[in-house]
């Protein structure tokens, strides 16, 4: 199972992930129609991208009255079927992270579905701040860094 991981230290706040996502999800360049969102902390110029965590027991799926949100058992991704959606926005209220929201320009929700296994945001991230990796590899680099520190006796 693959996960979308974020390395905030590498993010430069360039917004390319937001543009790429909104283009594929909503057909125009608009960060407000992107499933991934960068938060800016101006005082120290820090940037933190946020994206759907694909919860296993997802609140959005639980509250959806029509079954338009459902978990794909193979990939673990919570997917969205627009045809069944009645735009009640219960999912938006229920998500604790703010990861699902309505499309500003059409009657649909914006939901991260990893673009079916080839996320656009990752393709456009020039800094390697976004990675799409097998879940067991997601911690590999952090572990290696820790191991290196041990080796150097830090």
């Amino acid at each position: 199972m693959k996960v979308l991981t974020i390395n905030t230290e590498e993010c430069t706040g360039c917004k390319l992930c937001e543009l790429a996502c909104s283009f594929v999800k909503a057909g125009s360049f608009n960060p407000l129609n992107s499933a991934i969102k960068i938060y800016y902390f101006d005082k120290n110029l820090e940037f933190v991208p946020l994206v759907c965590t694909q919860c296993r027991d997802a609140y959005c799926v639980k509250v959806c009255p029509t079954g338009s949100l459902y978990r794909n058992p193979e990939t673990g991704v919570v997917e969205y079927n627009k045809a069944l959606c009645i735009m009640c926005k219960q999912c938006m209220m229920a998500c604790p992270w703010g990861s699902i929201k309505p499309n500003l320009t059409s009657d649909a929700m914006i939901k991260c579905d990893h673009c079916g296994g080839d996320p656009e945001c990752v393709k456009y991230c020039p800094q390697g701040a976004l990675l799409y990796v097998e879940v067991e590899d997601a911690v590999y680099f952090k572990q290696r860094e820790t191991a290196t520190k041990y080796l150097r006796g830090e």
Binding site: S28, F29, K43, N44, L45, F47, Q127
Partner: protein
């Protein structure tokens, strides 16, 4: 053609707000950004007006790709009659404001008139308000940025002036998002003269281009190129800071107010040391994969400061030019310039001119609150504070180096062309830059024709930079090309990614606009001539197209360009050759034939 651009015209005198469609006959001939705005200025305004009068107009102009992921295409030009010298000014800047402005639906903002009291403008998509700013007056730029986000929207992006612009300093900048500067030619004073403290913008409308497979393919292709570009990697790793080493190594790094062209202590302010000592991380402009911006942390008098910068130009202006090698002090000076809203190049070089006057014995301690010797970091920082308050000698510093040195009777100590302080490439060591400085439409500036690439990097001849040769042609061609780059809102550093051929393709796949590379370059020449025409009508002529006397008379003393001067006779030859190539007369005035050929008259 799917393109629809909108212009927002705001008159601060009568509070009128008008929306206009961009005119196709203008953008097909003058493009967008700098070109469109220059054409508007020439058509709508008398070039002879006082730059600080309500008759002057202040234009913020974007290119046609702003707000898209086409790499490094969301730059903004601030176009007006500059307060520093009365030339047509265009000052380029990135950050997030330009991107946000396009997402609110506007490609140009034209500010006219003058408000009775301090105001700011709040643009929230189609809602545009002129609001009271009396509570913001006197505040520094980061304070204004934070307060505006509280008052409007946390995601709003801002442009603002600091105390320098309010006090009409002729070297005042307009600051973007608190950390970036439309620095040159005194655009901040023009904004201050209109009682306009800031503009905040929030855009939710997005940019709807042609959503085609061709655009997707083009984006894929261009991002592959970004990944492979060595230039991109260099800018990402060092920003512009490693240029210190590169330019000092050819002996063209002006030092001690151009007394020399080589700085012994250069390693202390070079990119390697920036990365090691003060760099926290990279930042970027919206929509840019290069991310050249430095975010640094420095200490001054035990206090910690975090901000955007430094850049090559400020490492030089507050470093080599003043003879200071304390990286923390130099970077802190850059931060202060942004906080107070000064142009870093002009401020640093003006302080260097003052140091030169002092060390030459022209002024003594009776003129100054403290001694101002080359290399004295504390004196420099204190002078910046005084300049922001316009207190004592600071009042003269705020007028720029020309007025300062003239006040003391020695204007030749001002290292400026048309009163604008020269940037960090010594023409004695890179001859093409001399002609580029002398003929730049906004006074001493390196970005209208950056000949260094041709003279140093794209040649096998290590002596080529010291020859006069064909430099007139190089300057002319680079000026025309740069006018295209600026008028499409493209960052100069994207030159490592794409060229004019790409621009044509981008216009086609994004907006279905047909402009061949040849037509684009013709637009560039047209823009250059329109700007020159503005300057001619503002009273500028051949006598102003020159260099500071020191560069003609005093040789570089040490380093690889030791013994080099700028030969005056060679300069005159280059200038006349340049006029000939331009189709201008011997006084530098565009001939009627040329203006007709370009369709300007």
């Amino acid at each position: 053609m799917k393109y629809r651009g909108e212009l927002l015209r705001i008159n601060l005198t009568d509070k009128n707000i008008i929306r206009e469609k961009l005119k196709a006959d203008i953008f097909f001939n003058y493009l967008w950004g700098r070109g469109y705005a220059s054409k508007l200025l020439l058509d709508e305004m008398n070039p002879a007006v006082d730059p600080l009068s309500p008759e002057n107009k202040l234009i913020f102009a974007l290119g046609p790709f702003a707000g898209t992921p086409l790499p490094a295409t969301s730059r903004m030009m601030v176009v007006t009659k500059g307060a520093l010298n009365g030339l047509i000014a265009s000052s380029n800047v990135g950050g997030y404001f330009p991107f946000e402005l396009q997402h609110a639906g506007y490609t140009l903002i034209v500010i006219e008139g003058k408000a009775d009291n301090p105001v700011y403008i709040w643009i929230n998509d189609e809602t545009v308000e002129i609001r009271d700013a009396s509570h913001l007056w006197g505040k520094t730029t980061s304070e204004v940025d934070a307060l505006l986000k509280d008052e409007t929207h946390p995601e709003a992006k801002t442009v603002e002036i600091g105390p320098a612009g309010e006090k009409l300093s002729r070297i005042a900048a307009i600051i973007i998002d608190a950390h970036r500067a439309a620095g040159r030619t005194g655009v901040g004073a023009v904004m201050g003269s209109k009682n306009l403290k800031a503009i905040a913008v929030r855009g939710t409308r997005g940019v709807s281009v042609i959503s085609s497979q061709r655009l997707k393919d083009y984006l894929t292709k261009i991002y592959e190129r970004v990944k492979k570009s060595g230039g991109v990697t260099m800018f990402r790793t060092y920003g512009t800071t490693r240029t210190v080493r590169a330019i000092n190594s050819i002996g063209a790094f002006p030092t001690h107010n151009h007394r020399d062209g080589f700085f012994d202590e250069y390693l202390l302010i070079d990119g390697e040391n920036v990365n090691k000592e003060i760099l926290v991380r990279n930042g970027s402009c919206a929509g840019c994969p290069i991310a050249c911006n430095r975010i640094s942390k420095v200490y001054w008098k035990g206090e910690e400061y975090v901000g955007g910068g430094p850049e090559y130009e400020t490492l030089w202006a507050f470093g080599g030019q003043t003879g200071i090698s304390d990286l923390h002090a130099v970077t802190y000076a850059h931060f202060l310039a942004n906080e107070y809203g000064f142009d870093g190049i002009s401020l640093g070089s003006t302080i260097a001119a003052l140091m030169d006057l002092f060390e030459s014995g022209i002024i003594g301690e009776d003129n100054l609150p403290f001694p101002v010797k080359f290399g004295d970091a504390e004196a420099m920082i204190n002078l910046i504070h005084l300049a922001a308050k316009r207190e004592g000698i600071g009042d003269l510093i705020a007028e720029g180096s020309y007025e300062l040195t003239k006040h003391f009777g020695h204007p030749k100590f001002s290292m400026s062309v048309k009163k604008q302080e020269l940037p960090a490439y010594d023409p004695r060591g890179v001859k093409g830059m001399g002609l580029a400085y002398a003929t730049s439409n906004r006074g001493g500036c390196h970005v209208r024709a950056f000949t260094v690439t041709e003279e140093v990097y794209n040649t096998d001849d290590p002596e080529y930079r010291l020859k006069y040769d064909d430099k007139a042609l190089i300057v002319k061609e680079l000026q025309d090309k740069q006018a295209v780059v600026d008028s499409l809102g493209i960052c100069s550093f994207a030159r490592t990614i794409y060229g004019v051929d790409d621009f044509s393709e981008m216009l086609e796949v994004t907006w279905d606009i047909d402009l061949s590379p040849e037509k684009l370059l013709k637009c560039g020449e047209r823009i250059w001539n329109v700007e020159r025409l503005f300057n001619v009508r503002a009273g500028f002529t051949r006598e102003h197209d020159t260099l500071p006397e020191r560069l003609f008379k005093e040789a570089i003393k040490t380093g690889p360009s030791k013994g080099e001067i700028y030969d005056k006779r060679e300069f005159e030859k280059l200038l006349f050759e340049y006029y000939r190539l331009r189709g201008w007369d011997e006084n530098g005035v565009p001939r009627e034939k040329k203006l007709k050929e370009l369709g300007i008259i």
